[in-house]
C-alpha cells in the first residue's frame, strides 16, 4: 500500500498487481480512467473481480422489463435505435448468450454477424459492468463496429420471457455454465428439463442451442436433457463442421481459452429447435 503514497496512482496501478481495498479502489475510480487499459481503452478485468457463483434461486433486486415490448433497444443499440419506440429498425435481438461472463463470445459474434443484434446476459453485476465498458470501449476505438452487441444484468433462468418474444431468437448459447455438482443443487443448473421448455419458446423453429462445458458430468447432463426434450434434435457432425460458430465456443470464450491453455477436454451439445411432433 505504501506505493500509493509515494507514487502517482495511475503509474502504480499499471505496473503493480496490488490488491486494493474498497476505499483505495473508489479513489482510483474517482481519478478517472485508471481502470481502463491506456493503450486499448478497454476495461481491465482485475477491477471487476466478482464471486464465481451467484444464487439463481434468490429474489432479484435489479430492474426487469415488464414484457419484451418494454426492453429499451435505444439503450442497448443507440446507433441503430435512436429513439426508445424502436421506429428506426425492424430488427430484433436474435442471439442470446446466457451467462456471457466476460463477453468473449459476444464480441467475436458481433463482427462475424454484423447484421444481427445480440445480447449477453449475466447475473453478476460487476462482470456485467465489465462487459458493458468493454463494448463501449470497442465502439469508441472501432467506429461503426460493435453497435449490434450489448449486455444486460439479469437472471435468465427467471426472466427470459421478459426479454424475448415467442420464436424471436435464432441462436442461444450456454457456454461453460456453473456445474452445480451436488444433487440438491441440480435445480440451479441453467440447462434443465423444465427450463428447456422456455428456451424452446423463445427460439424459432430451426434455431440452434449451443452448450459446452469442461465438466464431463455436466456435459452428459446437458446432452441428456436436450435428447429427452421433444422440441430439440441433435445436429449432425457435418453440419457442426460447417458452422463457423462452433469453433468459437472454445476459442472465443475466456473459459474456453482457459481450458485450452490447461489442455483440458470439452463436451459440447448443439441441438436444433424443432416443432413438437404428435
Amino acid at each position: 500500500m505504501f506505493f500509493l503514497k509515494s507514487r502517482p496512482i495511475e503509474a502504480s496501478s499499471l505496473h503493480q498487481p496490488i490488491i486494493l481495498g474498497k476505499k483505495a479502489r473508489s479513489m482510483l475510480e474517482s481519478k478517472g480512467n485508471s481502470t481502463f487499459n491506456k493503450s486499448t481503452g478497454l476495461p481491465r478485468k482485475r477491477f471487476y473481480r466478482a464471486r464465481a457463483h451467484s444464487n439463481p434461486l434468490s429474489d432479484s433486486h435489479f430492474p426487469v422489463p415488464l414484457s419484451p415490448q418494454h426492453v429499451d433497444y435505444s439503450l442497448h443499440f443507440p446507433q441503430i435505435f435512436p429513439s426508445p419506440d424502436r421506429s428506426g429498425d425492424a430488427r430484433r435481438i436474435e442471439f442470446a448468450d446466457v451467462g456471457c461472463g466476460f463477453g468473449g463470445l459476444c464480441i467475436s459474434l458481433s463482427t462475424l454477424f454484423p447484421e444481427k443484434l445480440m445480447i449477453g446476459m449475466e447475473i453478476r453485476d460487476k462482470v456485467t459492468e465489465y462487459v458493458k465498458e468493454r463494448i463501449l470501449g470497442l465502439r469508441t476505438t472501432n467506429p461503426g463496429q460493435y453497435q449490434n452487441v450489448s449486455v444486460v444484468r439479469t437472471n435468465s433462468m427467471k426472466y427470459i420471457p421478459n426479454y424475448f418474444e415467442k420464436g424471436q431468437l435464432s441462436k442461444m448459447f450456454f457456454l461453460f455454465p456453473d456445474p452445480h455438482f451436488k444433487e440438491k443443487n441440480h435445480r440451479r443448473r441453467v440447462i434443465s428439463p423444465f427450463l428447456l421448455d422456455e428456451y424452446a419458446y423463445v427460439l424459432k423453429e430451426g434455431g440452434i442451442i449451443y452448450t459446452i462445458t469442461d465438466v464431463e458430468e455436466l456435459g452428459v447432463w446437458m446432452r441428456t436433457c436436450l435428447e429427452n426434450h421433444p422440441m430439440f434434435e441433435c445436429i449432425t457432425d457435418e453440419e457442426l463442421e460447417a458452422d463457423p460458430v462452433v469453433k468459437l465456443l472454445v476459442s472465443a470464450t475466456e473459459e474456453g481459452q482457459k481450458v485450452a491453455r490447461n489442455g483440458g477436454q470439452t463436451f459440447q451439445a448443439v441441438f436444433r429447435r424443432v416443432a413438437l411432433s404428435g
Binding site: 439463481p56 429474489d59 414484457s67 426472466y159 423444465f194 421448455d197
Partner: protein, 464 residues
Amino acid sequence: MEEAQMKEEFKTETNETQMEEKETEDTQLEEKDSYLQTEVAPALIALHPFDQSIAVTVGSELRIFNLVKNCAVSLADESKEMLHRDSIRALRFSDSGKLLVSAGDDKLVKIWGAESWQCLCTVNSEKRVSAVAISKDEQYVCFADKFGVVWIVDLVGLAENQPNPDKNAVAIFGHYCSIITSLEFSPDGRFIVSADRDFKIRVSVFPKYPLKGVHEIQSFCLGHSEFVSCLTFVHNSDFPQGFLVSGSGDSTVCMWDVTSGSLLCTSDVGREANLSEESHPAVTDLYATADGSLVAVAIQRQALEIPLSFDLLLSILQGILLLSCDLSAKRLSMLKVVPVPGETFIPTRLGTKLSGNLLWMVTGASNLPGTKESSFARIRAVSCFKKKSNDSDLEPRVLEDTEVPGGDQLLEKLQGSVSVESTVFSAAADALNAAMSSLLRKKQYSDEKRDFRKKTRNDKKFKQ
C-alpha cells in the same frame, strides 16, 4: 463533498459492531414474525357446479353442506389419517361436480367423491401445495407446489366405493423457483394456465398425453407489476374460448388473449374504487358469471397506517367490486361496489355455481396469533349476481343471514356457529394481508441490510 463521505464511512465502521448486534436481534425477530405470519391461512369456499353442495375450509378443516337435502354432510371416514393435518390452501370441484379436490400445507392432495364424500385417493406431494386444477375431461388432476413445479395425477380407475390409495404424481412443467398462485384450464381444455409470484402468467398447451410432460408454451401474459394472485376465464356461447382475467398484488385486474398473450384491457380496481393511492390493496380473488358479463373482484383490506376520521373509515371498501365485462369489445369496466352492511367483511374467497345468480363469499382465517379463537369463518351471499337489469329490485345486494339458502343450518355447519363474533374480522384481515405479502411480495432491504444478511447466511453459520 468527498471528505464528508469519508467521514460518514468512518463513522459507520466504528458503529458497525454495535449495529450488527442490534440487527441480529432484529432479523431474528423479523424472521420469527414472518414465519408466524405465513402460517395464517385464509378460509376458502367452493360451490358444486349444479348447486348440490357447498364446501368451506378453515385451516385443516373441510366442511361440507348439502344444499339439496339442506343438511350438513359428514365426510365418510373422519378418522384422523383421512383428514388434512395442516391448512388447506386449494379447494375445487370438477366441472361435472363428481369430484372435489383439496390440498395444502400438509403436502397431501385429497380427491373426494362428491356423492359419497369418500376420499377416493390421497396423493403425496414433495412440497406444500398452492393451487389445484382439474382437466375438463376429468381425467387428470393438476396441482402446483411452492417451488413452482406443476404435477399431474391421472384419474383412470378411480371410482367411488373402491378407494385407490396408490396414485403417484408426475412433474409436468415448472416455473423456475417461484410460488405458483393459481392454476386454471381454459374453457375448451386446450391450455393450462399458471400464474406465479414473479408477475408471470404462463399459458401451456395441454397435450393429449400430459403424463409425458407439458413442453409447448403457447404464450406468456406479461404486464402485471406485482405477484399474480388469481385467474379466471370469462366466456359465453359467442366466445367459447373466452378471455383470461387475472388479479394481482398491483391492484389491477387484466384481461388477456391467451393464444397470443396480448394484454387486452387493464382495470385499476384500486383507483376506480376510490381507494387511497398509497395502499395498493391486492386483488385476492375473481369470479365471473356463467354468461361472462360480470366479474366479481375481492380485494384486500387496505393497510391503515394513519388513524382515519370516521368519514374516511366509512369509505374504506368493505365488500366486493363488480366489473362489467364486454367480450366483443374486449373491455372490463367498473360497474359498482357491493357493500357488506354491518361488519368489516373482507372476503377471502369467492364462489359461484355455473347457473343461478348467487355469489358466495367467505371471510375467515386459521392460526390467528394472539386471539382467543384461533380460527373462524363467516359466509355471506350476494343475490342477483348476473347481467345488470333495469329493474332496481334486481340490483345485487348482500343477503341477510335469514335469506341465505340453507339458513341457520348451513351457517352452523360452515361457520362452525350461527353467529360469529365480528370483532376479530379486522384483525384477521390484517393478519391475512401480512401473511400474503410476506409470502408473495419481494422483500426490499436496504443495501447495508442486504450485505449483512449475506454475511449471516445459513450456509456460513455452519462453518464457524
